[in-house]
């Protein structure tokens, strides 16, 4: 539905008005749901250019898309947000392509952006073709078949018992204390204080010659339980900042949410 509409209506910018009138008169329902997102719509529009995708005019394509969105608005069709995001981006791209490049401006040029869009379309098109090819292959259970009467295989089960060193040590600890074993000694508080962290960090930082993830400084017993881990992470981070202030370490983070790393600062 959507595809045929696009084919009919966007043969050239000049025709848009006339076609729009006709469309309104026919109360045509534009089935935006028929498209699998803006890229799919662009691909469909692109087909009207009847050229190899590598030679596609991205400028023309942007105009076609914007016209489509405009039309949808006139017909009071609610477009999903990503269609509008794409429209805004294409409008931006269009201006980039039309205006002379600003030498001050960093970032990709209009041509680069257009080339990338063309690449995306070509790639999507290629995946579609391969998907069709794949589904057209001889298939198991349709064109070729597995054994119809599989013979039962008798299972002989062997059980392998295993244990870890931790199990062993915990087992031993359990006996020697004659007490129900509890994995962690600190049972009252799940807190790792700034003072504790600072003391710990002072002891360890001498070994941090290379950039090391701050997480590796968390004390034993504070790494698994989320509450304890949070506490230890916060205090270790605060302690690290304190050490930075004292000029003992350097700290860095490459980007948002990337690991925080630190390293000894040689004086």
């Amino acid at each position: 539905m959507g595809a045929s509409m696009a084919d009919e209506n966007f043969e050239g910018p000049g025709q848009v008005e006339r076609v729009a009138d006709r469309m309104a008169a026919e109360a045509l329902i534009v089935d935006v749901d028929g498209f699998e997102g803006p890229l799919d719509l662009l691909l469909t529009l692109g087909r009207t250019q009847k050229v190899d995708l590598r030679q596609i005019s991205v400028l023309q394509l942007a105009q076609q898309y914007l016209a489509f969105v405009e039309k949808a608005k006139q017909l009071r069709i609610e477009l999903a947000a990503d269609y509008l995001v794409m429209a805004a981006w294409l409008a931006f791209l269009k201006s980039r392509l039309l205006l002379p490049p600003d030498p001050e401006d960093e970032g990709p040029s209009g041509e680069e952006l257009a080339a990338h869009l063309a690449f995306q379309l070509e790639r999507l098109q290629a995946m579609r073709e391969r998907a069709a090819q794949l589904m057209g292959r001889d298939r198991l259970g349709r064109d070729f078949f597995a054994r119809g009467i599989p013979e039962d295989v008798t299972r002989v089960k062997t059980v392998n018992y295993t244990a870890t060193l931790l199990d062993l040590m915990q087992g031993y600890a359990r006996i020697r204390t004659k007490d129900e074993f509890r994995p962690y000694a600190m049972d009252r508080e799940a807190l790792f204080t700034l003072e504790q962290a600072l003391e710990r960090m002072r002891g360890l930082i001498g070994f941090a010659g290379t950039w090391t993830d701050i997480v590796s400084y968390l004390p034993e017993g504070f790494t698994t339980d989320p509450g304890r881990r949070r506490s230890a992470t916060a205090s270790t981070f605060a302690a690290s900042l304190e050490l930075v202030k004292e000029g003992k370490v350097e700290i860095r983070q490459s980007e948002h949410f990337a690991p925080v790393q630190l390293r000894r600062k040689d004086q």
Partner: protein, 219 residues
């Protein structure tokens, strides 16, 4: 021959003659509907057996017959010859019709594996619904691969042996047109430029990231 002798020395009993080993492989393969690896076969055969060699003979024996020996990933299976499919209409299992989104997602995973959800979304330009991935997982056509060593350590998807078996592929290298796609640079994961809308969450947006299939197929 010398190898035979060595085997004899190594093991308490000599491995059975090759013709016998071939029979054994044949029986094992006929008995199961699922592909079975050389290692699994050898685990069942007498000590010192060489299933790989027996399979070479067996494959030859079934050439041109109504049933073939096919390789599926690193496993083997007996399958009817595809040209005789029309005789088996009764056996045809109605496969659930896959949605267009599912088919495209499957193809993208097959050609770009290992691939993250964000990368699939980047290629398709729309978000991938949970249902689509779930369906493919449930059909056992895809599975989780190793996590990507990029921020957020996103999970990746790869195709399974069941997928290869279903589509009669010996390995993912045999996907139709894979070479051409690679030559055309269409399997490279290019980073989107600037503010390019991607459709996905864009978890690893600025992650031109791993070579994907290249990595997989260059070895």
């Amino acid at each position: 021959m010398t190898e035979e002798t060595e085997h004899k020395e190594e093991s308490l009993f000599a491995a059975p003659p090759m013709a016998e080993q071939e029979r054994m492989c044949e029986a094992i393969l006929f008995a199961t509907a699922e592909p079975i690896t050389v290692r699994e076969m050898e685990a069942r055969m007498p000590h010192g057996s060489d299933a790989a060699e027996a399979l070479v003979h067996l494959r030859k024996r079934y050439e041109g017959r109504g049933v073939h020996l096919v390789k599926v990933g690193d496993a083997w299976a007996m399958r009817t010859a595809p040209d005789l499919g029309y005789l088996m209409q009764k056996e045809t299992v109605e496969t659930r019709k896959l949605s267009r989104a599912a088919i495209e997602t499957l193809a993208i995973i097959a050609y770009h594996q290992p691939v993250t959800r964000a990368e699939i979304e980047e290629i398709r330009g729309v978000s991938v619904s949970r249902g689509t991935v779930d369906q493919l997982l449930e059909m056992e056509w895809i599975r989780f691969g190793r996590r990507k060593m990029t921020p957020g350590r996103p999970v990746t998807f790869v195709v399974t042996q069941t997928f290869l078996d279903h589509f009669g592929l010996e390995s993912a290298r045999d996907l139709p047109g894979l070479k051409e796609l690679r030559a055309a640079g269409l399997l490279e994961s290019r980073a989107p430029l600037g503010e390019m809308p991607t459709g996905g969450e864009g978890e690893d947006e600025d992650e031109p990231g791993a070579k994907g299939q290249d990595e997989l197929f260059d070895d």
